[in-house]
Symmetry: C2
Subunit: 238 residues, 2 copies
């Protein structure tokens, strides 16, 4: 089976968390909107007149007869299927809980440049964005990443992973979260990272996974840009 991923073709965005899991798993997939003449993701996966289980928003993964939406839900599915989560329910629920907490940070990162409305341009909510970004870097990043560092330190499993003794989708997503936060808030991250030695080591380890390393060097990895979730607006760090 070849998976079909429906996501915006020009950004990493939330789709990137799914791409990383597919790449690590070595799964065959089409990034549909990036194919020649590929349809935009909304057309193909969200139209309720065409699908019984339409999604509210991309990313969406087609897996045979299944059409699965919500980033964390897609990772829950892929994690169980490709050994990127523990087999026992207690384990995959725990991994999923952490993934949902990552999704919360990602939402908050998005809202630093869109605190008022996703329907307005950043330029039209810049003043509010500055306030929200200041709170995000001063309060929220330390609270969330400090939590993840603590979870990692508490994990009795070997290998420096978040869950048990094997790589899971949580590790892949934390790699992406740290990459995104470094891109968007380089000053804050440079200041904060010494407090999270475990997470930084985990990030480096994920980057060296053969499939991930190959992916990051490939054209399939879209560079960060100011259309995605993690955006570099230097004025938000002033």
């Amino acid at each position: 089976m070849v998976y079909e991923l429906y996501y915006w073709p020009t950004i990493q965005g939330r789709g990137e968390f799914v791409r990383l899991a597919l790449e690590e798993a070595g799964a065959a997939y089409k990034d549909v909107a990036r194919q020649k003449n590929g349809m935009p993701p909304t057309m193909a996966s969200i139209d309720p007149s065409k699908e019984e289980h339409p999604s509210f928003a991309p990313p969406v993964l087609r897996a045979g007869e299944l059409l699965i939406g919500q980033t964390a839900n897609i990772l829950l599915y892929l994690g169980r299927k490709h050994g990127l989560a523990p087999r026992a329910e207690a384990g995959w629920l725990w991994a999923h809980q952490l993934q949902l907490t990552i999704a919360d940070v990602v939402n908050e990162a998005h809202d630093t440049h869109h605190p008022v409305s996703t329907n307005l341009y950043y330029e039209d909510q810049k003043k509010e964005a500055k306030k929200r970004a200041r709170d995000f870097t001063a309060e929220r990043i330390p609270k969330y990443l400090g939590y993840f560092e603590q979870v990692l330190q508490n994990n009795p499993g070997r290998g420096g992973f978040m869950v048990g003794s094997r790589l899971s989708h949580v590790d892949l997503s934390l790699f992406q979260l740290i990459e995104g936060l470094r891109y968007a808030f380089p000053k804050a991250m440079a200041r904060l990272e010494p407090g999270w030695p475990g997470l930084v080591a985990l990030r480096d380890k994920v980057e060296r996974r053969p499939n991930i390393a190959a992916y990051l060097k490939s054209k399939r990895r879209i560079p960060f840009n100011e259309e995605g979730i993690f955006r570099r607006y230097p004025e938000l760090e002033d």
Copy 2:
């Protein structure tokens, strides 16, 4: 086994989605912080020095040896265990996807009164709150609830439920979402609800479930107030 729910004792908040599922299931549970001399939820369930799987924030459910955080994750667990979701993976994944989309609306509802920071009082972000609330009622509520109405209309199952032909945690949470939005934004909801006949009928049906009806009449149901997620600030509808 008696479940233990850790959540703030004076608000419905995110914990209410869990309470409704426990009540509908007729499950025995302690709402720990509401017991005599009950500990605040943070003390008991989030302290990483005491728990291997601490949560970032409440609600948290203790189920025997499991400690489960993230509202939607708790409902995923309870849904599978108490027949509040389909048994087959395709079904419970779909129910969970809808639950995660409800969680997204709930987050956005929260941010109407806290668009800048959860660490500031509402009064200190009132101006931004007005802007965000205007966007939420004009754009986001119609988009989300219109989506849920469409899903309900598309569902080939009988009975007017969201997933298949039986009540699921999704129906319970949509009841709570509509109640919350009616409380917070009565004018917008009065204007919009005629567009969602299926959802309104579903809300009424949930309210009449014997266990839910008994719960809503009991003291266990905390009234809405301005400390929770859904808050009535009339100026946000002006």
